[in-house]
């Protein structure tokens, strides 16, 4: 059978495509849920209109996004059984538990309270309505935790034993599975990059509008002041979130890397294209490797840095690909090269993930300084509350017009960065684990469903890819439409805070109320 169409290859492509696609929406869902909740909290506490409009605006984008995230998440749960039935049988006892917990504890929560939030604006008292979006946010974060705990188990299996007669993995300790260091650091890294994504998303869209408003003003046209206020608040929120998240992404990434150096030395050697063990080991900035010869021909490196990244010590040894592969081949059988993942992907993926992710954070830091409100600004340079801020380098020096132009443009463009970094990060960590499905325990080639034919897999891969492509187009256009439209500043919150009467209350004659024919505040 042609290798390119072997069921394993098809199943891997499907997993890769569906997972990366699903994960375009997940981080934005997680962060926008929390940011929308934060904005609604600000509205409930201060009563300021700008927070209401911001809540509605970002909430709408959040809902467009979560719909497709939820829809594509179902594929993730089903395809383990469909394409990877041998894997599922082998690990279900361990791996199934966090997945089932995710549904029972987190997903029910999220899906039920989101309905209440969408339709509940005029039905629930403000504070209960607010609680609903916080519960949605909690649900998304818990969901992420369980899924990442399951994934971490594939990266580093713990808390299990192998049954001698059946050869199947059995759970020993759920605590170890849920709270091993891999899971904790992976969660921290993933969650902070989710907020990096949401923050950059806010920066991008707010920059788009503020730049347009600035142009309109310069041309002497009327602008919607409420819109400016709402978006300026959003911009600042986005900048703060991205900046802080950027720092946390770096810190958690460093901790996760240290764990990985111990648990998956091959992945990290491959991430560096470090062929030979070195003491101390340099961090490679650029290299051109020759896989067949087992060494690199061109290298630009920072001496000792890799040792520090792996072990907090500038001189310690980092095992190379050759040594690690030989050791794995001795331990698990086969040839050393069977244990080397795709180096082009791991090496460049690792670099791009860090580079692109960090650029977004650094840009946000710069933006945070440049668009400040009052601090270190002469009074004449402080923009009015409803005005687009100038980009101020020092207390009296504004950036030149061309750089300012590019500054706003870069703000818009930075929206895309975290999405790219997130996708590459997952491709790196999953491909870097190959040939293993569960590291050191179960190989990907043994995981595929034996009962599913090549044709069936090809149909599944083709159909899902095609549908995903169409939906991507629809989703992006819809997102763009709503993002470009901007906040609806005419919208008013419900005039009176709705009360929630108990079943024992006086609402038995609900239909006789004066407002019983009043249209719904929101309807599909």
């Amino acid at each position: 059978m042609d290798l390119a169409l072997a069921p394993e290859t098809l199943a891997r492509w499907q997993f890769g495509i569906t997972t990366v696609y699903h994960y375009l929406f997940v981080p934005l869902t997680i962060s926008l849920a929390a940011l929308t909740a934060g904005l609604e909290t600000a509205w409930v506490r201060t009563g300021k209109e700008k927070y209401f409009h911001a809540t509605k605006f970002w909430g709408k984008l959040f809902l467009i996004n979560i719909a497709i995230g939820v829809a594509t998440g179902i594929v993730q749960e089903f395809q383990f059984g469909m394409n990877w039935s041998d894997y599922s049988k082998f690990v279900g006892d361990v791996f199934g538990a966090p997945l089932a917990m995710e549904s029972l504890i987190a997903f029910f929560f999220e899906s039920t309270f989101i309905g209440l939030w969408i339709f509940g604006w005029d039905k629930l008292p403000k504070k209960i309505h607010l609680a609903c979006i916080w519960l949605v946010s909690t649900g998304t974060i818990l969901s992420a935790y369980f899924i990442l705990a399951a994934n971490s188990w594939m990266q580093h299996p713990v808390g299990y034993h192998i049954d001698k007669t059946t050869g199947v993995a059995h759970l020993n300790s759920i605590w170890q599975v849920l709270f091993q260091d891999t899971a904790v650091f992976q969660f921290a890294h993933t969650l902070s990059s989710a907020f990096l994504t949401g923050g950059a998303f806010m920066i991008g869209i707010a920059s788009y509008h503020l730049r347009k408003i600035k142009k309109k003003k310069a041309a002497g046209e009327d602008v919607d002041h409420k819109k400016t206020v709402t978006l300026r608040t959003s911009l600042r929120l986005g900048l703060v979130v991205t900046m802080i998240a950027g720092v946390l992404v770096a810190l958690s990434g460093d901790s996760l890397a240290k764990v990985m150096f111990k648990q998956q030395p091959m992945k990290m050697a491959a991430a560096e294209a470090l062929w030979e063990t070195q003491c101390p080991a340099p961090f490679s900035i650029f290299s051109v490797g020759d896989v067949t010869k087992g060494h690199n021909s061109v290298e630009i490196e920072l001496p000792g840095l890799l040792s520090f990244l792996s072990d907090r010590n500038f001189s310690s040894c980092v095992p190379g690909i050759n040594e690690t592969a030989t050791a794995e081949a001795e331990k698990y059988g086969g040839a050393p090269e069977d244990y080397v993942p795709n180096l082009f992907i791991t090496y460049w993926g690792f670099r791009l993930m860090i580079g692109i992710g960090l650029s977004a954070a650094v840009a946000a830091g710069a933006g945070f300084w440049l668009t400040r409100k009052k601090k270190w600004l002469l009074p004449e340079h402080q923009a009015a509350e409803d005005d687009v801020p100038k980009l101020m380098l020092t207390n009296k020096r504004e950036l030149g017009p061309t750089i300012t132009q590019w500054g706003w443009r870069f703000g818009m463009a930075s929206l895309i960065f975290p999405f790219v970094a997130n996708s590459i990060g997952w491709v790196f960590t999953e491909m870097g684990r190959q040939p293993w499905a569960a590291y050191g325990l179960f190989k990907t080639e043994d995981s595929v469903s034996p009962g599913v034919s090549q044709t069936e897999m090809a149909i599944s891969l083709g159909a899902l890819t095609l549908l995903y492509a169409v939906l991507f187009w629809i989703n992006v256009r819809l997102m763009k439409r709503y993002a470009v439209k901007g906040p609806d500043t005419d919208e008013q919150p419900p005039a009176k805070d709705p009360t929630l009467r108990g079943p024992w209350g006086d609402d038995a004659d609900d239909d006789s109320h004066d407002d019983s024919d009043k249209p719904l505040n929101f309807a599909y």
Binding site: I64, A67, I68, A71, T72, I74, V75, E77, F78, F80, G81, M82, N83, S85, S88, K89, V91, G92, D93, G96, A97, A100, S103, L104, I105, F107, F108, S111, T112, F113, I114, G115, L116, I118, F119, G120, K123, L124, H170, L171, S449, P450, G451, S453, E456, I459, S460, A463, L464, L467, L471, I474, L478, Y482, P503, D510, P519, L520, N521, A523
Partner: protein, 334 residues
């Protein structure tokens, strides 16, 4: 009763919950073509399930997750056996979510009509596919000694599967019609009742035929009882519907759906998926289960979480208890 049996029961309950809850929102989706006369009426229908369909769907995710955790072999073999049916189900599940969320996001009539068609088609085909899979599960599929599917897609296409599919669609349609009568006001409410009566007769025939086939195939005294209760449920629906007792009618269709799902699981027990090749290769409650530790952990989680889920989902239905009619549908916000 051991933990294995408890989890078999719980998974049966989760699937029952799924068909009870999503059953009526499938039905309402089907009615957008069969009952609604204009765009506003279609929106009435969509909005009576608007706040709850998402929570309903999680019962499916949870049922599948519970199969994975408690009976990995069942999960693996079920999902790889019904491969192409599930691929289709996945495509439909995906577009159905978006039909709800995206339809109202643009004002163009063609956009909205297309998503309405998607909602109708997915609501019609999904129960059909589940019915096919469950009927096949009772009938037995080719499972080899390795507990793997050893057949082809053609093995899944048979008369009982067709009957299962049609019966599920009919039951969901009745359930949705009765739910519509319970949740709307005005003309559409009256028409929903009339429609429900006709649909119940069809469901009685198809559902009855499915249950009789199950009885003949793998019947026990218990499945006979489920059959009887299902018939009583549908007759009760007819009676209550005639008296315009909508709450009762809905309860009776609920009982009918629960009995059909119960009959399927009672017919299976103590097997999970019988093999059509050799009885020794059947997946059973004992040979497919996770170890006692996992089952114990998951039992704790389920025992704590399930009552909570029922409580807050129940509360949602209470918050949105008000009936909706065309007068409540706001003009497009665009």
């Amino acid at each position: 009763m051991g933990l294995n049996d408890f989890w078999f029961l719980l998974i049966a309950v989760l699937w029952t919950g799924y068909f009870f809850l999503e059953g009526f929102d499938f039905g309402v989706g089907i009615l957008t073509r069969l009952l609604a006369r204009d765009r506003t009426e279609r929106r009435v229908l969509i909005n009576i399930i608007g706040p709850v369909w998402d929570g309903n769907e999680v019962w499916l995710i949870t049922a599948a997750g519970a199969m994975f955790a408690a009976f990995p072999v069942w999960y693996a073999t079920f999902f790889s056996s019904f491969y192409l049916l599930l691929v289709l189900a996945l495509l439909l599940l995906i577009v159905r979510v978006l039909a709800f969320e995206y339809r109202h996001k643009r004002p163009e009539e063609s956009w909205q009509r297309n998503w309405e068609l998607v909602l109708f088609a997915s609501s019609l085909l999904l129960p059909f596919l589940w019915g096919m899979m469950f009927a096949n599960m009772v009938r037995g599929v080719p499972i080899n000694s390795q507990q793997d599917f050893a057949g082809s897609f053609a093995d899944l296409l048979n008369w009982p599967a067709l009957l299962g599919g049609l019966a599920f669609v009919a039951l969901c349609t009745v359930h949705g019609a009765v739910f519509t009568a319970l949740k709307t006001v005005g003309d559409i409410r009256v028409r929903a009742r009339t429609f429900a009566t006709k649909a119940t007769v069809v469901a009685l025939l198809l559902g009855g035929a499915l249950l009789i086939w199950i009885q003949a195939e793998r019947g026990t005294a218990w499945t006979a009882m489920a059959l009887a209760v299902a018939v009583v449920g549908l007759l009760g629906t007819l009676a209550m519907n005639a008296k315009a007792r909508e709450g009762w009618a809905f309860s009776f269709t609920g009982v009918a759906i629960a009995s059909v799902v119960a009959a399927i699981f009672l017919a299976l027990a103590p097997d999970l998926m019988p093999s059509s090749l050799n009885d020794a290769w059947n997946l059973t409650i004992d040979n497919s289960a996770s170890g006692p530790y996992t089952l114990k952990v998951m039992t704790w989680v389920a025992v704590i979480m399930m009552p909570l889920v029922l409580l807050y989902q129940g509360w949602t239905y209470w918050v949105f208890r008000k009936r909706i009619g065309p007068q409540h549908i706001p003009a497009d916000a665009h």
